[in-house]
């Protein structure tokens, strides 16, 4: 599965007394909106049909997400 560049991972503390085998890591998402204070003017735009599909007019504000079920997590 393609790595999501917005995904951050960390390994939680593993105790020798954990009841279940440990998962490889925990993941969370830091979406693109966290790095924009104010959207600059005249950014490139999707075509209207592409914008509808992506849920935004702006490629630079598009955030992909893949189901954890699909990734086998």
């Amino acid at each position: 599965m393609k790595m999501n560049h917005e995904e951050r991972t960390y390994v939680p503390f593993r105790s020798p007394f954990d009841p279940c085998p440990p998962l490889p890591c925990r993941t969370y998402v830091v979406p693109v909106n966290q790095y924009v204070v104010f959207q600059p003017p005249d950014l490139p735009q999707f075509s209207p049909a592409e914008a509808l599909k992506h849920g935004t007019l702006w490629p630079s504000l598009y955030s992909p997400y893949v189901s954890r079920k699909m990734k086998g997590e």
């Binding site: 909106n33 204070v37 849920g55 935004t56 955030s63 997400y65 189901s67 079920k69």
Partner: protein, 189 residues
């Protein structure tokens, strides 16, 4: 006032018979971070926010109702042809006892919607920061919902809704920047 367009903001297609997913999707219908709470929160805050950012609350609050309709459509499609046995097996027996197949403003655990989910502090900074947090919470809820289904069509609609929350959050962050600006101190040459 509003003008109603008799279509969904984004198409909703459900390809898998999975009534249990309806039980989970209800979180975004009548849950604390759901679309009803969002719409009512923003449209209510409009009256006590600086003029320059009323439009942001107006537009986003209105869009949230369009999202509410999309969630309702998913729940409806997932339950309309379910038998009583299927509803019970999907964990919707308690819902059926009270509502038959009627939709209801409740969260995934069946807790009815309450106005205490939303706030109106009257302080523009406090209210906008609540709105930003609400958007990120809704975005996270959509992630957990996408995680729980392998129906790529319902995932597609949920991914659209998730992206909208990301855009809403940045709009609210921009609103904060707009009201932070102190025009009185700006030098005019």
């Amino acid at each position: 006032m509003w003008i109603y367009e008799k279509k969904l903001q984004y198409p909703v297609r459900v390809s898998k018979c999975d009534p249990m997913m309806a039980k989970f999707l209800i979180e975004q219908y009548g849950g604390a971070d759901g679309e009803l709470a969002a719409a009512l929160r923003y449209l209510n805050q409009r009256y006590t926010i600086p003029d320059k950012v009323i439009g942001v609350l107006n537009d986003i609050g209105t869009e949230e109702f369009a999202h509410l309709e999309m969630i309702a459509t998913m729940v409806y499609k997932l339950t309309k042809d379910a038998t009583v046995d299927q509803l019970q097996a999907a964990g919707l027996g308690a819902h059926y006892a009270n509502h038959d197949k009627a939709l209801y403003y409740e969260n995934a655990s069946g807790v009815p919607w309450t106005a205490s989910y939303i706030n109106a502090k009257g302080d523009p900074i406090a209210d906008l920061y609540e709105d930003i947090a609400a958007e990120e919470k809704a975005r996270a809820t959509y992630q957990w919902l996408i995680d729980m289904t392998d129906d790529v069509d319902i995932q597609d609609s949920l991914k659209f809704l998730r992206e909208r929350e990301i855009i809403h959050a940045i709009r609210f962050r921009e609103a904060v920047e707009i009201i932070k600006e102190d025009r009185a101190t700006r030098k005019i040459f």
